[in-house]
């Protein structure tokens, strides 16, 4: 029951934050709303027994968003941003299309809920170790390779953003 209440609360946080993110005229407000939304997601992680990710989400991700936020401040003249049009010309079409996709997704989940029943009833493997430990186990054995690649990804991200952002290299 508590789960349910918490789920819905977080859901409101997530969706509300999301909606605010995309509707706030001021980009800084958007960023703050995004943080709210991300926090909601973090809450959901907690609900789903993904404690490590919860931590990662808050520490890393939200921190990362702060970076974004700073960039925004660095880049955009807020006064100017407040004056220009917020949405582009195609927003109605876009909304209709998104609504249609939403309806279709609803249809799919409605029709296909059964496909997940197997997942629901999967034999519960007792969690012998803590979440973080299990994650680490998995990450460094089964997912060792992606982990290594991820390091390259981050390297490229660093190099790339430096190349792009620096005036002279």
């Amino acid at each position: 029951m508590l789960d349910t209440v918490l789920f819905y609360s977080f859901a409101v946080l997530v969706l509300g934050g999301g909606i605010l993110t995309i509707t706030r005229r001021n980009a800084v407000h958007s960023a703050i709303s995004l943080i709210v939304s991300l926090l909601g997601v973090a809450g959901l992680y907690l609900l789903q027994a993904a404690e490590f990710l919860f931590a990662v989400q808050i520490v890393l991700y939200v921190g990362g968003i702060m970076v974004l936020f700073l960039f925004v401040i660095m880049l955009v003249n807020l006064d100017d941003a407040a004056k220009v049009r917020e949405y582009n010309r195609q927003w109605i079409v876009a909304l209709v299309a998104v609504a249609a996709v939403g309806a279709e997704l609803g249809y799919f989940f409605h029709r296909g809920a059964a496909s997940f029943h197997i997942a629901e009833t999967a034999a519960a493997v007792p969690v012998a170790v803590g979440n973080t430990e299990a994650l680490a186990d998995s990450l460094f054995s089964e997912y060792l390779l992606p982990f290594e690649i991820a390091s390259l990804v981050l390297l490229v991200a660093v190099v790339g953003s430096v190349i792009m952002a620096k005036k002279r290299i």
Binding site: L75, N131, V153, M164
Partner: protein, 102 residues
């Protein structure tokens, strides 16, 4: 009240996905578009975590970590490019960058 099932999480994630999509499609400010993309990736993460929970394996969580990594990397590079763009064009409005067309 129904118990919260995986499908609930899916619905939530789908809703977030759509919100992010709306953001990508309608907002003019590229920074906000990047934020919307973060929303989309978070929707994916909700999915992954929910499935991970349902399947009682951590594969989904690990996947989510990589998605987060990717989100960060993309954001970094995206902002880098944005800076380069801003330096040349003095704008961050998505529909004002249309030098290349047709």
């Amino acid at each position: 009240m129904h118990p919260v099932t995986t499908v609930h999480y899916l619905a939530l994630s789908a809703a977030l996905l759509l919100i992010g999509t709306v953001g990508v499609l309608t907002r003019r400010n590229i920074v906000v578009i990047l934020m919307s993309i973060e929303l989309i990736l978070n929707a994916v993460n909700i999915n992954l975590i929910a499935f991970s929970h349902a399947w009682h394996n951590v594969g989904g969580q690990v996947f989510a970590i990589f998605v987060i990594t990717d989100a960060v990397a993309e954001a970094a590079v995206g902002l880098g490019i944005l800076i380069a763009l801003f330096r040349n064009k003095e704008t961050v409005q998505a529909d004002e960058i249309d030098l290349l067309k047709w």
